[in-house]
């Protein structure tokens, strides 16, 4: 190879032809491509030498010859690099396709799956809905005085209304009479405590555990209620209906709500609220005993005697209160068929009720 002659267009064209031929022959052979690289562009490479020889040309020819040689070098070098890159990419692609993982295997869980109790999940949801309507959360003791649980709520002594709630009595530790302490039978005493502490206007919900001394497939001696109370000037039954309809729609989606007159000593008028059956959408099924409705909560306008017990002017203020069983809503939500599951701590039950 003695091309130390001047890089004339003819010479360059010949080099180019030669390069193209060799490149085509090399294919994807990396060793061959590297050899071509050093043969043309290495320190002793043909184009390197041609470029060097530009300096020996007469000054007036140097410029054109230099430009032309450089152009050819760049173009050839670019073509070579393209092939080299493509070859490397292909090789890597081939490598990457080796040893595919079996991702049908279960994922690695460093920490076992924890869960919130269904009652907690529903409770949080309900509290959040009421928070959106401006309700605060209040709480109170589970062992209550007879006065807070009954007396202040307008349950007369020795009245059959007390039979509506089978009461657990706590033995007083001192000389107080038997029957003066109870396990709260409902969350309603929280109303009393909150109104005594805060007065009116007031807007609270009070979730918590309550106790009644019966135990059968649909009753547990301990269960959960959430109580609501809204007292302000001009609060009406239409407002009660508005808030409860809003709550029920937020919890169960939009569906019918029915109010029936009922009796609870601490409200007047008192109502029971039915919800269009969540299983049959009102068509009638076994769960709703073909009625299309399911009883969901008790409510009413706060009885003036209750407001008076708490030192609130019953002429100026009116309000409504409601209470519902959290456990029952949880049972509806997840089709849990037996209340006893709730409080048995069976891990097989607890781990089921998770996610959306």
């Amino acid at each position: 190879m003695t091309e130390a002659t001047a890089p004339t267009p003819e010479v360059l064209e010949a080099v180019q032809r030669d390069f193209s031929g060799q490149l085509a022959d090399a294919g994807r052979d990396v060793d061959e491509l590297q050899r071509i690289r050093s043969a043309f562009f290495g320190p002793k490479g043909r184009l390197t030498l041609l470029l060097k020889s530009v300096g020996q040309l007469p000054p007036e020819a140097r410029r054109d010859a230099g430009r032309l040689t450089n152009e050819v070098k760049r173009s050839l070098e670019g073509a070579l690099m393209e092939v080299l890159d493509a070859t490397a990419a292909e090789a890597r692609e081939k490598e990457l396709r080796k040893g595919r993982l079996d991702l049908s295997l279960p994922g690695r869980r460093a920490i076992p799956k924890g869960s919130l109790h269904p009652v907690t999940q529903i409770n949080n949801e309900m509290v959040d809905i009421f928070a959106r309507m401006g309700f605060d959360v209040a709480g109170g003791p589970e062992v209550e005085t007879d006065w807070h649980n009954f007396g202040a709520l307008n349950f007369p002594d020795d009245h059959p209304a007390r039979d509506m709630q089978d009461t657990f009595f706590v033995r007083p530790p001192d000389d107080r009479p038997a029957g003066s302490l109870v396990l709260r039978t409902h969350t309603s005493p929280v109303q009393i405590r909150a109104m005594l502490a805060q007065g009116a206007p007031i807007r609270i919900v009070a979730p918590g555990r309550v106790y009644r001394c019966d135990s059968d497939p649909t009753h547990s001696p301990m269960f959960h209620q959430i109580e609501g109370l809204w007292v302000d000037e001009g609060v009406s039954m239409a407002h009660l209906r508005g808030v409860l309809t809003g709550f029920i729609n937020a919890l169960f989606g939009e569906r019918g709500v029915r109010l029936r007159p009922s009796f609870f000593p601490f409200v007047e008028p008192g109502v029971e609220v039915d919800l269009e059956c969540v299983f049959c959408d009102g068509a009638g099924c076994n769960v709703c005993k073909q009625t299309g409705w399911m009883e969901i909560l008790g409510a009413g306008m706060v009885h003036p005697n209750v407001l008076k017990s708490c030192g609130i002017d019953a002429e100026k203020y009116t309000g409504f209160a409601f209470g519902l069983g959290i456990d029952r809503v949880a049972m509806l939500r997840w089709a849990i068929d037996d209340l006893a599951h709730m409080f048995r701590s069976d891990a097989r039950f607890l781990s089921q009720i998770r996610g959306i």
Partner: protein, 817 residues
Amino acid sequence: MKASLKWIKEILPSLKAAPAAIEKRFNAVGLEVEAVERQAEPLDGVIVGEVKKLAPHPDADKLRVAAVFDGEKTHQVVCGAPNVKEGQRVAFAPAGLTLANGVTLEQRKIRGVESSGMICSEAELGISDEHEGILVTKPRARAGTALSKVEALDDVVLELGVTPNRPDVLSHFGLARELSAMFGLERPKASVRVRESGGDAKTHAKVSIDDKRCEKFTGRVLLGVKVGPSPTWVKRRLKQLGIRSISNVVDATNIALMELGHPLHAYDLHKVAGQKLVARAAKDGEKVTLLDGSVKTLVADDLVIADDSGPVGLAGVMGGLDSEVTDATVDILLEAAVFDPKSVRQSARRHGLHTEASHRFERGVDTEMVETALDRCAQLIVELAGGQVLKGRLVDTKGKRKPIVAPIRPERASMLIGRPFDKKEVKAALTALGLRAVKNPAAAKGKKKAKKKDLYADALFFEVPSWRLDLSLEEDLIEEVGRLYGYDNIPAIMPPGRREPFTEAPKRLAERDVREILAHEGYGECISLAFDAEHDAEAMGLDLAQAVTLANPLGEESRVMRMSLVPALLRAARLNQDNLPSVTDLALFEVGKTFAWAKPAGELPKEALRIGLLLRGNRAPVSWTEKGTPVDAFDLKGSIEAVLEHYRVEGVRWLAHEVAWLHPRSATRIDHDGRTLGLFGELHPAVAEKYGLEGAPAFVAQLELDAIVKVAGARARFVPLPKLPPAQRDLSFFVSEDVAADTVLATIRGAAGPQLERVELFDVYVGKGVPEGQKSLAVALVFRAPDRTLTDSEVDGAQKTIIAALEGELSARVRAG
């Protein structure tokens, strides 16, 4: 209460509404229909059969073989009833039918004779208690027609949930009265004309009141009655309502009770000593034998009905056995009275009784209904059992009640219900319910009292009828107006926004946070019944003197309110161990209250909000990636740290502590400035044994959520990220095994000065190469100054100080550093 629609319609003939419409209306006005029994339903398929021929059974004296025609064909039926006769129209159930009692009739041989279907008695059809003979229906009934049609057995019986404020609807008359208002019909009247004859009742018997808890005591004397079984219609009617037929006289009292709602009692006149009854207080220790055969020892608070020889009944609850009407009874003293609701309730509860009578007296009876009920019952007895009613009623009374007058302001009703009502509407509604518009009673008394602004100056006033014991306040009347209007017609309106300031409830939020943290840590939340046995508290080493004890527990195992969350978790561990015998992996938590009386006891027991944790088995379930690493106390501690870190609690010390339920090797008290934040460690093997836990050890904690929230640290505050590089040194050394790790770290921190940014313990080793009684620890020390790069000599100096402190204070021997 069970109610027959036919009976109601007998009382209110103008009521033409269909059963479904009545049902709907009852629901809408607050009388919840809990169940509907359609009488004809269980009789589906039972038809009129004509007994064409009757022949003796070849092999049985008491059986006969009947040819029963069903309108199309004839069936051969073996029948044992004595009253079956040729030509009768009878109740016939063909083969293949399932009767009300669940029996499916099959074609079979009875003593060798083929029998198809059955000729039924009323008891077999479930329409009365009559089981002596078969039901014989109308002689001209056409064979093959439905029996229910021919016998008019198409009644609908509603089971109504009557709330305790509405005793006025605990009768068919009361229900008819309520429905008349609901359907805009004329109110029914309960008037009875009893045919009297013979002498004056007063010469035969006497009733009197000797205790103000009896408001009215009335009686009637009936002579010459013939006690026996009731006629069919009575038996059927009682059966529908779930009442047992006893005898015509007793049944008459029950029919009158169910019709008019007033309890009545019939005495055998000659078994009443002196023929005198008195309502009086019992004497302490007096005994009475009641109708149910039970002997009750009375106390002075009981109100009794007594004759000259002693109590003959517990007033308003149950009559006595000795003066009971029997088949031999001829003359009767019939009683109707009014007793104090509280007194009846106390007596009934004291003696463990609940009867139809006590149920009504506790709720209150209509004082104006007493005489009507008495007369109605007397008339009914004569109708059913013959005899005569003597002239006049026996009456003693403590005066007449003053009627209650209540106000109602239409604008107040409109405001409370949320829909406008005018005077006319209010008046129409209340009048329909039997209230009577009256003048303002204050105005009638003179206008002198007008000093305070009279809220009720423009109000309407109504006199409440004697049967509505639940109405006395304006709100009560407003409820009636709303009830009649229909709650479903009230609009649903979102109230205006909140006016009171918002507040934060930190403890409630804490309860929620901590649950979420622990669920993320892999624990399943459980909620257990908050009752324990006394032995649970003892196993936890707690003082039973502080226990909150129930007076009426459901059982021995649930006598005390839990004093610790741990026993329930151990029971849960046991239950899960039984359910999953090969896998003991379990991580549970509960957030809840425990109960204990303080010393001295306050008004209420102390309720402590706590967290219980239980960990057992493997850290993660065995799988293709996890070979199964058993948990230990450090796993549990990690979860506790997650809770403490959330609350940014600082300065916690983990101190060895004696705890009854924890293994001495790991029992730890979490201390914060002398306050206990919790206890944890491995469950004591003796306690594990007591709760039946076998195999993998359990790790248990009980944390004081109240205390943790109280010592919560300050909110996080951003510290600018360091701009200069740190200098790091590792240090390893031997130290005595009894020196606690946090003592070592505290010594390092104390000696190092402010440039020690971090110290991390990265290795603990005991074994080969470590002297006996020593352990090898290795720490990484990270030094940094905020304003300049530390020089090697500065870092070396700090490290030397640390080494000197470890060697000097803890007798450590530094191996490398």
